[in-house]
Amino acid sequence: MSRSSPLPFACWLFESVLPGPYREAMLGDLVEEYTLRIDSTSSFTASIWFWSQACRSVPSMIRSSLRSRNCFISLSVATGIYLFIEMLKFAADFTISKLFAPGQSAHVVLAPIVFLLANAIGGCVAARIRRGAPTFLALLVTITVAVLIDLKGCSIPVPWWYQFGFLTLGPLSVLVAPAFLGRLKQRGLVM
């Protein structure tokens, strides 16, 4: 771990997840303070401070992003893309259920893959159209999954962690995929 780029995974994750125009400046501040804290305390204490600051900042930044003047346009874009990914998921689920009976291990494995892939595609499209749209899209995905879990929308009995995976990884894939694609483009791996 170099001093100039502390906690690269944490930086990458928060750079992907945090919305708002001051994201880069905020992460820069955290990195600067983190390097100062390493000198005065220990690397472990500084890491705990970094993670706690970054995690506590997420709700404020999301609230601020939702409150911003252009949120209506972002919400409209997100809603449109949400409908698009739902159609994509429906088509894929239909194909999978034709190939494998519900409850078969292949069906249980393929369903989350389709879900994450569709969300990631949606996130990338949303980010391309409008910068703030992935945040709204992630919110829509979270609400839908939470409602489906509450309504026991899954006909096959699945363990709690399977549903929890949908609830956490679904919105995360929407937010992380555009940043991941950006990195690949920077390295020239994707056109």
Binding site: G28, D29, Q53, M61
Partner: protein, 110 residues
């Protein structure tokens, strides 16, 4: 500042921290100043969200500084208090003073 509109408590504190910084300051300076003076450990996200709101209201302005290696190549966002922000601070301060005037006898120290 519109008539009757008061600064929120965090807005008030952050504007005062910027005034104390005496020049252009970035979010972490503001956060540190508040932590040292009030003991409140607020998140950097809350500071930036409030600064964004203050900028929308025209109380502060901001510009991007140079990226530095200490910040992992990220640029600073520097903020300064504008005349409207100073006016808002004066009005808010005056309101608090007016509301607390005469309460010292009843409550002791305020």
């Amino acid at each position: 500042m519109k008539r009757g509109e008061l600064l929120g408590s965090l807005e008030h504190i952050i504007l005062l921290a910027l005034v104390r910084a005496d020049g252009d300051a970035h979010g972490m300076i503001v956060r540190r100043e508040i932590e040292q003076r009030t003991g409140r450990n607020i998140s950097i996200g809350a500071v930036y969200a409030t600064l964004e709101r203050l900028e929308e209201k025209g109380y502060v302005s901001s510009f991007t500084g140079q990226p530095t290696p200490q910040r992992g190549g990220r640029a600073k966002r520097l903020f300064r208090v504008e005349a409207a922000g100073k006016r808002a601070l004066q009005i808010s301060g005056q309101t608090i003073r007016s509301m607390t005037a005469g309460l010292k006898d009843r409550w002791g120290t305020i």
